[in-house]
Symmetry: C2
Subunit: 400 residues, 2 copies
Amino acid sequence: MHSVGRRQFMRHAVSSLGVASAFAMPWTIAAGTAVGSWDETVDPETADLIFRSKAPRNAEPKLGKLAESWVTPTTQFYIRSHGANPQIIPDQFRVSVAGLVEKPLELSVQQLIERFPAAACTCTVSCAGLRRYEFSKVKPVGGVQWEEGPIGNAVWSGVRLSDVLKSAGVKASARHVWFDGADEVRDGGHSFPFGGSVPLSKVMEDNADMPGVLLATHMNGQPLKADHGFPLRAIVPGYIGARSVKWLRRIVVSEAQSPNHFVADAYKIVRTGTPQEWDEAAPIYRYPVNAALCSSVTQEGRILLKGYALPSGDKNCSINRVEISTDSGNFWVEAALGDETGDYCWRLWSAAVTIADAAADVCIRATDSLGNTMPETVTWNPKGYLYNAWHRVPAKKLLN
Amino acid sequence: MHSVGRRQFMRHAVSSLGVASAFAMPWTIAAGTAVGSWDETVDPETADLIFRSKAPRNAEPKLGKLAESWVTPTTQFYIRSHGANPQIIPDQFRVSVAGLVEKPLELSVQQLIERFPAAACTCTVSCAGLRRYEFSKVKPVGGVQWEEGPIGNAVWSGVRLSDVLKSAGVKASARHVWFDGADEVRDGGHSFPFGGSVPLSKVMEDNADMPGVLLATHMNGQPLKADHGFPLRAIVPGYIGARSVKWLRRIVVSEAQSPNHFVADAYKIVRTGTPQEWDEAAPIYRYPVNAALCSSVTQEGRILLKGYALPSGDKNCSINRVEISTDSGNFWVEAALGDETGDYCWRLWSAAVTIADAAADVCIRATDSLGNTMPETVTWNPKGYLYNAWHRVPAKKLLN
């Protein structure tokens, strides 16, 4: 294995981040310094978020701000945690690669960056619980009562997981890759890391612009914030956020999916929730097509609506059409789509409408290039995942 | 572990089989005698079946005979194999129990029967490819072109897998149980046993009359025939037949589902069939509600129809209603349901109808006690599994 040295490291930082400030790498700070916190102190930069809980930290942006830019500012990006932010000592942090590999690895973040080519992508990360509160209106479900905010689009940079695995030498029987975080989740008297799992075929689905899975050190040109997984996280374009494990400490190549609670037990769609059903069901991987109305402004007698639309998390899939109805879903008009678009990325939209019936609902539905359309209704499920029915907002809310 | 000895063994055989002939146990034949065959010679008792292939052996009964009795005679029971019948030397045959257990076991069939309480159940086994040829009419799919025959209801007896696992001592982290057969499947230059996997929660879902999983030595009161898995097979009530592994030689308790090809790669519903989709999808476990018209006889100006209806493979679920339409699905009448019924069992039905329009289709649809109803159409899938749309037969076929 060759070491590319400081020079290529700097080129990496420049090419993938495009900003000089990227050189302020927190993992070069003094030995033994702890980053991250176990308390409920909120990073002042995230003070503008709506905190659904502070221990663990779960927050989403105010909806009105979400559709203002295609790349979501880090300060407006939702935070989803299952335990306290782990105490990270940057110069001691290592990520291990084990399981069905010829040569297990244990690497610092600096080594990762020095040994492997720089890679970056822009993609949307979306929580499986996005819009969960709409399920709860039908029948209450537990978990964070997310509204339309736990979704965001960011520029991620780091190295390709495929390059790391190729270097470790994946054995022929390998089929899945597990991720464990450095956090500690407490559940039913046990304590364990948050974990994820992705098929190896997804990891290896690289092309020039889009890694199958990125090992990200940076978000929007800056080293990851503690709340977003400093110093290293997985980014899995097209998959629910839960697979993009933060504070990534352990990578295991296996024949089977991870037995971690958040793969084997949670993040599944079941009907009634018997143990047998949980064990039979597949983990959720890709997110479905979705959309939301984020803001409205009255302008010259019309109402200007803005929002986001997310294509399903499939390869080569983008938003084709966003439709608006101001009469509860009878008549639909097409919204204008933003110019910025990309694989595994949301697309912003806008529409100027008039509202004739204040008692009606304004409805939003998106359709992607694979023909997936948001349905009128979604079957309730016990954990409240993947709500993607038409986004409905009472017209009178927009007429104030 | 106590050995119950010859006396309890005989009581077992009597109570569970109820027939004297059960004592002719093939595994008491002389040492070294091979049972089963690698050639294409068909057991003369199965000569009445329609063979879709002879190597491996895949056969289904003539449909007209299938609804004649609630318990399907063994000679009329479909045969599904992925490799040649293995060469079994009865006195050398052992089944192993390994993986996440305190005490691994290796037992002869005789030991299984002596050590564990006798158990029996009547349940329907149904191939995931039942009615596959109807998918092929839409767009050809590979695999055996099964019609309505690869389904049957039998009395199975042996011992409960739960008792065996309790004796081995299941570790706390166990979640799934793997089954490997003694057969040898050749695929892509590799050779491996046919394998299955069931959640541990399903195995442990025992009640007095219905084991979660049965380790069956007998079918309809006779030792298993070679084609049905002699000397030992799994029977998993409610699950597709592929999980009821024949010639059962290896049981592994694990955190994860079996990596066997027939769990990890085949027997899944996918949309297009990319490697990523296969790896993401759950294995098929339970079969869906289904039904078929099996025979028709003209009687005093009316046509007497008979068939079977299968409830979905859920716990406490039975057939509630079978409806017949003689006008392609506009007007429906209820069929009479057979008296014989049971958990995880099909139900026979009959209806006397008149047909006004020879150009119409006669349609059959069943509804189970959990409210599952056969849909009018089913989305095509690349491997042609779980076809359960209304069974349609051109009326003119019944008017001859």
